[in-house]
Subunit: 222 residues, 2 copies
């Protein structure tokens, strides 16, 4: 029933346009009553994004699982991959929706709200798993925004190419960029993390011996 | 006239609530006609954010000016500071609006759309000023998102504290964090940029001599 409503809605959105399609048109084509529609979807906008609520719930569940020794940045990158998987499950639908969303400002605003909720879920997780001495809300917000931006950069490229190419690879590359910039900090024990990336940040004016000392310390050789 | 409409609107929003206030109520209190309202604001939502369009225009103008030898990341951070300045110009109004926006989902969605437009302006600039061999849209999107997230983290703290404390200092600190992570790349000539930050990224498995070589190269001492 839910799938039939989504199918009928998209058929009409593509034929007539989003604004020109009413909920009455959708239920007539799907062969159900208005009440059935509103049992599944609070509004016409919601039928355009039938899977985000489930995906948000999946993400929250994933982030609340015990993650073991995972780097928190790695963990939020894996959480972002759940969103990609949802899009990649049904490329035709995802591409149709992308085109629709770009044309209708109201849907664009709806999507921005959804993206914001994903970003907040990631930031909340990072706040709760900050490795520094205090809850670092700045780092959490910046990393969450960077993860979402990288994910969406790759996702948009894939959608613009009509769902051709390997979306997962593109997202891996994009998230790898963020992990390189923000991945596990040099202060953590590196011996248990053979794949870690070490990032050294130094003012240009710092003496070379001090820089080398910092690197050796980060590499656990001091 | 415009200021009088904004003043009347906020007086009513605070007294009665946003949803309970109509455009007719606003124009009655301001002592003008409905047409005057719609000459300045397309909708009731727009009167809540009377200054973002000007600020977006200021930001676009700032970014289109010849910036000389500025690091592009520094430049977008300075552009973000224009938004802070707008908020800090009128702390009482900004704090009132923050409280209102948190309570009304429609205003929250409006604000997300505005934030998205700022972010796109910064990303467009970064795409046009990428220092790599090709337009690096991934880096541009990630850095723009990081700058906006850092700015908004500091701005929200300031708004939550009822506009007390030094907003500019908080934003400087937050943007400094992003500049440390993404500031001018090691490939650029550093001699002309004494304040640059050098970031060296290395796999843990790399031999130490190679890491030192990379640092020396980045510091321009090779």
């Amino acid at each position: 029933m839910r799938d039939a409503l989504v199918g009928a809605a998209f058929q009409l959105f593509l034929e007539r346009g989003y604004e020109e399609t009413t909920v009455d048109d959708i239920v007539a084509l799907a062969g159900v009553g208005r009440r059935s529609f509103f049992r599944y979807f609070p509004s016409k906008e919601d039928v355009v994004f039938p899977d985000h609520e489930r995906c948000l719930a999946d993400m929250t569940a994933f982030l609340s699982e015990e993650a073991g020794a995972d780097d928190p940045v790695q963990r939020v990158c894996d959480a972002a991959r759940l969103v990609l998987r949802m899009y990649a499950e049904n490329p035709t639908f995802s591409v149709q929706r992308y085109r629709l969303t770009r044309k209708v400002p109201g849907l664009r605003a709806y999507e921005l709200s959804v993206v914001w909720r994903y970003e907040r879920a990631l930031a909340e997780y990072l706040r709760g798993h900050s490795t520094g001495p205090r809850a670092d809300t700045l780092r959490a917000d910046v990393v969450a925004a960077a993860v979402v931006a990288a994910h969406n950069n790759a996702l948009r490229s894939w959608l613009r190419s009509d769902g051709k190419g390997n979306a997962a690879e593109a997202v891996d590359h994009a998230l790898g960029y963020v992990q390189n910039a923000f991945g596990s900090s040099p202060g953590e024990p590196v011996d248990e993390r053979p794949e870690d990336v070490v990032v050294v940040v130094s003012r240009r004016g710092a003496p070379m011996w001090r820089v080398v000392q910092e690197i050796e310390s980060a590499f656990g050789r001091d």
